[in-house]
């Protein structure tokens, strides 16, 4: 069962690379913001899978919730900045 979650986490790490490509070379600021936000969401899932692997899911839930909140706020602040400066 541990192997299954390990393979799942490695798969998520590979998916992060695709999002990183979109975040680095993506045409325009909005594509980059979406890529970075998707990386944050995938990191959240990887954190939870790590929690399952280490059998401490109760601890990792707390960390992942804080991570999700800060990721959401980061995206909103970035969108606000783009709206204010008129880039994109």
């Amino acid at each position: 069962m541990i192997d299954f979650f390990l393979i799942l986490s490695v798969g998520m790490c590979v998916l992060v690379l695709f999002c990183l490509y979109r975040g680095t070379f993506g045409p325009g600021v909005l594509n980059r913001a979406a890529g970075i936000s998707a990386i944050g969401t995938k990191t959240l899932i990887i954190l939870l899978l790590m929690g399952v692997i280490y059998d401490r899911i109760d601890m990792f839930i707390d960390i992942s919730m804080a991570y999700a909140l800060l990721n959401f706020i980061g995206t909103v602040v970035l969108a606000k900045y783009i709206e204010t400066t008129g880039e994109a």
Binding site: M59, D62, A66, L69, L70, I73, V77, K80, E83, T84
Partner: protein, 154 residues
């Protein structure tokens, strides 16, 4: 400058999210000695709630709830709670931040006094971190044109 945006989605979502965020921050502070978290992390999440409020509802609405002057006072109060609990242990005959000595004041055994002492320290740290984070965010986000609390002083 931060303008008051008319975005319905962001406004509604943040209005729904901020109370849960504050509850979660209080949970992180209170369970700091059982689970990941503590004063600093809880304070950062509290400050994140205020940041979300600034971004979604504008600066004027947020300043009604937490002005820059109040943030300064709160940060000082947080440091005062931390140092005060430490000095109280010093006065009661222990080392600095030796919470076990607090059992002379509280009607509990020393082991429980240690838990309550670290909780008090974490509340102080959370207040200080929240106020300082909020102030830093305001100063950066307003690009130095930091609006005074009372314009009539100028």
């Amino acid at each position: 400058m931060i303008r008051d945006s008319q975005d319905v989605i962001v406004k509604t979502l943040s209005r729904l999210l901020v109370p849960f965020m504050v509850i979660y921050a209080l949970y992180v502070i209170m369970h700091g000695h059982h689970s990941p978290g503590g004063g600093f992390q809880g304070g950062v999440i509290l400050a994140a709630g205020f940041v979300l409020l600034v971004v979604s509802h504008g600066l004027e609405q947020t300043r009604k709830r937490l002005s820059a002057k109040a943030a300064g006072v709160l940060s000082s109060i947080g440091v005062f709670i931390y140092a005060g609990i430490g000095a109280l242990c010093l006065l009661l005959g222990g080392n600095y931040l030796d919470y076990g000595k607090l059992s002379k004041l509280l009607p509990v055994v020393p082991a429980e006094a240690r838990s309550l002492g670290i909780l008090g320290v974490e509340i102080g740290v959370a207040l200080a971190v929240m106020a300082v984070m909020f102030t830093i965010f305001l100063v950066i986000f307003t690009v130095g044109e930091f609006p005074e609390d009372d314009r009539s002083e100028k």
